[in-house]
């Protein structure tokens, strides 16, 4: 917080909030930006800046529900290009919250409102993200074609894009290739994306490489150490940057590897950890996915336990008096 004794200036709290966002300190960020907004009064220019910063910050901290409320408030005070950015941010928050069709509607409306190349690319990236990652149920109903259409649009401007956008275009392309079953292409594109990534972005790419190799290993023999190497690197960097959602994705991929290697109880522990991190990130659709997977594994392992017990009873305790007397037990098993 801004030190007491200084004048209670909203601008000071605003600047402090910016610093705290850079340091990824959520508590201090929220505390400072809230103070800035409360102290601003009716100064619309400051309200526009502060509510805008709060919206961006809440998105960065994966507080998507609160971000939507904040964006709605920010839209009252902001104008021009900032309105476009805020609407795009709202589409992304809605997407993360599972409101896929609303996210698509918001992005498609924005696409009609702008012709500026970089802005178009940014919206195309988001549409591709929704079609490849969020709307997986409709991949076969043309969703993947839509994703390709927007990715191709973005690729037209690839050379003029900053590294950040180059990485995002390539990462989304890799997901498209993955769902097309083109694993080699997905791996190549992800390796290309690594060239444009900063350290904090590496977990996303490492997790995706692990996922692609995990799937590819069903067709081709890969040693699991290759996948584990990517997951270890991803977890270390994600923990360094407090990136809960990538930590969750990494744990989820690790659990899948453990399931593949029939380490069911380790996989369950890992899935519970992934679930916690997805919940912390308000990624409810993934949390549900993990929860259902846990249910499935528990049911399967229970069935396995019952079968093992049944075999042991038949083999070793068959002549036991207690067992003979309790035919009902045998009936249940």
């Amino acid at each position: 917080m801004v030190e007491s004794g200084l004048a209670l200036s909203p601008a000071k709290y605003y600047e402090e909030a910016k610093i705290m966002l850079g340091k990824r300190d959520m508590v201090e960020f929220v505390s400072n930006i809230s103070s800035a907004i409360v102290l601003t009064g009716n100064n619309k220019e400051m309200l526009a800046k502060a509510t805008y910063l709060r919206s961006i910050g809440l998105m960065e901290f994966n507080q998507h529900t609160k971000a939507v409320d904040s964006i709605d408030e920010a839209l009252k005070y902001n104008t021009g290009v900032d309105v476009l950015e805020l609407k795009k941010l709202k589409g992304t928050a809605k997407g993360f919250l599972g409101c896929v069709s609303e996210a698509i509607r918001i992005y498609q409306e924005l696409l009609k409102e702008t012709t500026e190349k970089i802005a178009v690319v940014r919206i195309c990236i988001n549409l591709a993200w929704v079609y490849t990652t969020l709307d997986r149920e409709n991949h076969h109903k043309g969703g993947l074609d839509e994703a390709k259409k927007y990715l191709d649009m973005a690729m037209q401007y690839f050379d003029i894009l900053p590294d950040l956008l180059k990485r995002k275009v390539l990462n989304n392309y890799s997901v498209y290739h993955f769902y097309q079953g083109e694993y080699e292409k997905a791996i190549n594109v992800l390796n290309e994306a690594l060239k444009y990534a900063e350290e904090r972005d590496l977990p996303k790419l490492y997790n995706n490489l692990a996922e692609v190799y995990l799937k590819y290993s069903e067709e081709k023999d890969f040693h699991s150490s290759l996948i584990l190497e990517y997951l270890d690197k991803s977890e270390i960097i994600a923990a360094k940057f407090d990136d809960n959602i990538e930590l969750a994705f990494s744990l989820y991929a690790r659990a899948k590897l453990e399931i593949q290697e029939e380490q069911i109880f380790s996989a369950l522990d890992t899935l519970y950890l992934a679930f916690d991190h997805f919940i912390d990130s308000e990624a409810y659709s993934y949390s549900l996915e993990v929860l259902l997977k846990i249910n499935q594994l528990v049911s399967e392992s229970k069935a396995k336990c019952i079968k093992t017990m049944q075999e042991k009873l038949h083999n070793k305790v068959r002549n036991n008096l207690y067992y003979e007397k309790n035919e009902k037990v045998r009936g249940i098993l």
Binding site: I125, S174, R200, K293, S299
Partner: protein, 41 residues
């Protein structure tokens, strides 16, 4: 009756569970860009 309901529940969970497509690789949206704030990507 209870037993039948339990069985149905287990079958339902198995059916729903087995139909899940696991997370798989995930793309990413653009959340950056701002005329007001440039913090990180």
């Amino acid at each position: 009756m209870k037993k039948v309901l339990c069985m149905l529940w287990v079958i339902l969970i198995l059916l729903v569970g087995s139909s899940i497509v696991l997370a798989d690789p995930h793309g990413e949206p653009d959340t950056g860009s701002s005329t007001q704030v440039v913090i990180f990507g």
